[in-house]
């Protein structure tokens, strides 16, 4: 998106001075510019004379100033726009530094006695709790049960959100029909729907999956709508010129263009599904990572409470990694065109 803006910017400025200077030389109508050379005119009336080149290019991107500065004919290869690839080891180390710092602070704070174990359990106790969960096989069961609920919920909710977002993004009628309702729905916190959903769907799996699905519809709709609206008209027209229409146009051009947004939506949907899990598994569950939060509270186990936070944090990391992997696979061109 930003790249296209930058790429389109140069033609206008290069036309600018070329068109403006003859006009300034020939017409005596513009008083300040009339007899003066380009240098003084630029000083006297910057907005008219030199400006099309310099001001617009300065706002568009600093790189574009170089062609204006060097005389025409002496072409210079454009500077590489993307940032140089960082060394993986450095990147990983920097990435891990802040979380490691937090863990160290936690370790030191609880170990030195500055933080009472009632307020925050220490790493040792939390690791012990993790060991117990692994030993009894609960951790695997809980993760699987929650993954099933969250997966089905995000699949259903995300699917519906994507469909609605694409329809609203593509057609004016679709937008008129769908958008107001979705904006209303987005404002309703899904947690407010819990009592209603219990009376509609009971307290079993259906309720849990529906709750997560409803939570996932909102972000997926908003982002895919945004992505589809942002699809480049020229690209779409070009694809039309090649004879693509209907579903093939949508699947082949519009959705791939919107893919960065859709994947961002997927990230948010998956995180929201974790919130949904906590709410859903408070009710009628016997396993799940949200249920584990409930258990930790009911049995006053602060070590398990901290463990739950850690599990959620690690899941957040894994979700991000997975989506990054999908981004690499599904959008291999992005590394070459993205500004960063």
């Amino acid at each position: 998106m930003t790249l296209e803006g930058v790429a389109q910017a140069p033609p206008t400025p290069t036309e600018g001075p070329a068109a403006a200077s003859p006009a300034a030389a020939s017409s005596a109508a513009a008083p300040p510019i009339a007899g003066s050379p380009a240098v003084t005119s630029s000083a006297a009336a910057p907005p008219i004379a030199t400006s099309p080149a310099i001001t617009s290019s300065a706002t568009a991107s600093p790189i574009a100033t170089s062609p204006a500065a060097t005389p025409p004919g002496d072409l210079e290869p454009p500077r590489y726009l993307g940032s140089p690839r960082r060394r993986p080891a450095v990147s990983t180390a920097v990435r891990g530094a802040v979380p490691l710092l937090l863990v160290t602070a936690w370790w030191y704070g609880t170990g030195s006695g500055a933080i009472s174990p009632d307020v925050l359990a220490g790493p040792g106790a939390v690791l012990g709790a993790l060991g117990e969960l692994v030993a009894t096989g609960q951790l695997g069961d809980y993760l699987l049960a929650s993954a099933r609920r969250a997966g089905l919920g995000v699949l259903a909710g995300g699917g519906i959100g994507l469909l609605l977002g694409v329809v609203a993004g593509l057609s004016a009628l679709g937008e008129e029909l769908i958008d107001p309702t979705m904006q209303m729905k987005r404002a309703v916190p899904f947690l407010a729907l819990v009592p209603l959903f219990i009376s509609w769907f009971g307290v079993e799996e259906t309720f849990k999956v529906v709750l997560i699905a409803v939570a996932a519809v909102g972000p997926m709709y908003a982002y895919s709508y945004l992505g589809v609206r942002g699809a480049d008209r020229k690209t779409v027209e070009a694809a039309r010129g090649f004879g693509l229409t209907g579903p093939r146009l949508v699947l082949g051009v519009v959705i791939p263009t919107a893919l960065p947004n859709i994947l961002m939506a997927l990230r948010i949907c998956l995180s929201v599904s974790l919130t949904g899990l906590i709410a859903a598994e408070q009710i009628g569950a016997t396993e799940g990572i949200g249920y584990l939060v409930t258990l930790a509270q009911q049995y006053y186990r602060s070590d398990y409470m901290v463990l739950c936070i850690l599990i959620y944090a690690v899941l957040g990391l894994l979700i991000d990694l997975a989506i990054r992997g999908v981004e690499r696979l599904a959008m291999p061109w992005r590394g070459h065109v993205a500004a960063r």
């Binding site: 099933r148 009971g202 408070q282 009710i283 016997t286 249920y291 258990l295």
Partner: protein, 350 residues
């Protein structure tokens, strides 16, 4: 341009997505199938023809946990052609009530106080059994009004102008109102802060409230952390008995099923008095639900003195009226509760 490399990449992405979807649906389908097979065998013989007893998850301790582990209820109910379905657990009593309302649970265990609000507004459930209070002074206490060890509050009278955490419309609030009434302190001079037991624990531990009526699991937890107890429920004329309630259609159509449930519960509670260790850590020795050390010893001692539940009779209406009276007097409960409407006489004629 569709290069072959990109095509493989897209194909891989699609395949990964498709596989994960397939795995999820397969896993989900697998979870549902187990339930139906066990029930199909039981035929309709007498009394319980096709009735299903729906009980919430019993957790890791107590008579019902043992019944679930050893399949005792399943066996006994199969004899009369009924079956049992073990549900999930609930974070709060309100959530449990929601489950009862939606029919996901049809038998419910608890104190009188928290269900009164539900009983006052609906005719879905009736009480069919009570558990008399434990009066033996040797039995461990199960609740208490606690203050922090350094608190200037020495008695219930000192609570005037202070904040006390209680669970709303539940046992904590009932006992606090009762204690204030006994001490002659007007209830509106003490600020009741409504917190669930787990929230109350953190608010109390960090000194955000001056006192807290800790009940059930919260009480030993608070005492273990050094809290000082002002008064116990047992020191008061506490009429808030433990009770068993069931949905009305179950009681009316399949009373025999509920009788079998109560019989099993009575037998197991009696057994737990003799052999309490077997009723702790039933499913798991480790994990958040497992107890060990002094907590285990305390739970064992509690089970040793536990009273056995009994059929509710018309005379038990007095307990309901008493608890409802306190709640009504202080505006916790808007309407009255007619004991005749909420107690179900399940006792067999013989």
């Amino acid at each position: 341009m569709w290069t072959s490399r990109r095509r493989t990449r897209v194909a891989v992405a699609v395949a990964v997505a498709a596989l994960s979807v397939a795995a999820l649906t397969a896993a989900c389908g697998g979870a549902g199938t187990g339930k139906t097979t066990a029930a199909a065998a039981a035929g309709a013989e007498s009394g319980g023809g096709g009735a299903v007893l729906k009980i919430k998850d019993p957790g890791n301790a107590g008579p019902l946990a043992v019944a679930k582990k050893e399949g005792i209820l399943e066996k006994r109910l199969a004899e009369i052609g009924a079956k049992v379905e073990w549900g999930g657990s609930y974070a709060s009593f309100t959530a449990t009530i929601d489950a009862v309302r939606s029919g996901s649970i049809n038998v419910l265990e608890g104190a009188i106080s928290p269900v009164l609000g539900y009983l006052a507004n609906s005719e879905d459930i009736k009480i069919f059994a009570f558990t008399d209070p434990v009066t033996d002074p040797a039995a461990p206490q199960t609740d208490g009004l606690v203050v922090r060890p350094d608190s200037p509050v020495k008695s219930v009278k000192d609570l005037v102008g202070r904040q006390v955490a209680v669970n709303k419309g539940g046992r904590g609030e009932y006992l606090l109102l009762l204690a204030l009434q006994e001490a002659g302190v007007p209830a509106d001079q003490v600020k009741r802060v409504y917190l669930n037991p787990d929230q109350g624990a953190s608010a109390f531990a960090t000194g955000k409230v001056d006192a807290w009526w800790a009940i059930v699991r919260a009480y030993p937890e608070a005492v273990a952390k050094g809290a000082r107890v002002l008064v116990h429920g047992r020191d008061l004329p506490d009429k808030d008995l433990n009770m068993q309630a069931a949905r009305v259609e179950l009681l009316k159509e399949h009373p025999e099923v509920v009788r079998v449930y109560l019989k099993v519960l009575r037998e197991l509670t009696a057994e737990a008095r003799q052999n309490p260790e077997r009723f702790q850590n039933v499913f798991l020795d480790q994990g958040p639900t497992a107890v060990s050390g002094p907590r285990l010893a305390e739970e064992v001692a509690k089970a040793r003195y536990a009273a056995v539940p009994r059929f509710a009779t018309a005379a038990d209406g007095a307990f309901v009226t008493d608890v409802a009276g306190i709640f009504q007097k202080y505006g916790v409960l808007p309407g009255t509760v007619n004991p005749g409407d909420v107690i179900f006489d399940l006792k067999p004629a013989a």
